[in-house]
Amino acid sequence: SQQGEEDPQALSIQEGENATMNCSYKTSINNLQWYRQNSGRGLVHLILIRSNEREKHSGRLRVTLDTSKKSSSLLITASRAADTASYFCATDGVTGRRALTFGSGTRLQVQP
């Protein structure tokens, strides 16, 4: 079963706009990661935020983490058509289990 839900399930924006995706999870975590998946391709790691961090930036990406609410958000600024993909959050639990637990994903469409 999935760890949690992502919101929205689908998002369509114009090039240049910002895109915000949210992720909720259920259990305590070591860290939370965001992945991108283009149609027909594997998952690409975007950014990792540790459980003791609240915000992290990488290029046009900004991730926040609120462990009290068990939620995270991914902001993509100045979106491009090439950002069109599905975005997944994944958590690495405190139990030491090395497998990642993924959310259900947000499908982002950036219109040129």
Binding site: S1, Q2, R41, L43, V44, L48, D92, R98, G105
Partner: protein, 117 residues
Amino acid sequence: GAGVSQSPRYKVAKRGQDVALRCDPISGHVSLFWYQQALGQGPEFLTYFQNEAQLDKSGLPSDRFFAERPEGSVSTLKIQRTQQEDSAVYLCASSQFSGGASYNEQFFGPGTRLTVL
């Protein structure tokens, strides 16, 4: 360097057939994971190897699913007597995990899309 590779990329099987899916992890990566991704969903964990040892197989949905990594590098996921509900993309990931690592970045292959008719 080369990433994680998987073969075949696409597999069509008749219900009841056995299939074998191969994963070549990044050279030197200790950990190897298999995930199953149904259409429109996120990947779900199947099994995990550290070198040749299968440390976690809690995600395998039935005893028809079997995975091995006999020499600690290449891994094979075998599905016996395939059923229609086995249709999914099977993703392999590897990680340069060591005991002292505080995080676990996994590098994913392109997946094998299995369709069971």
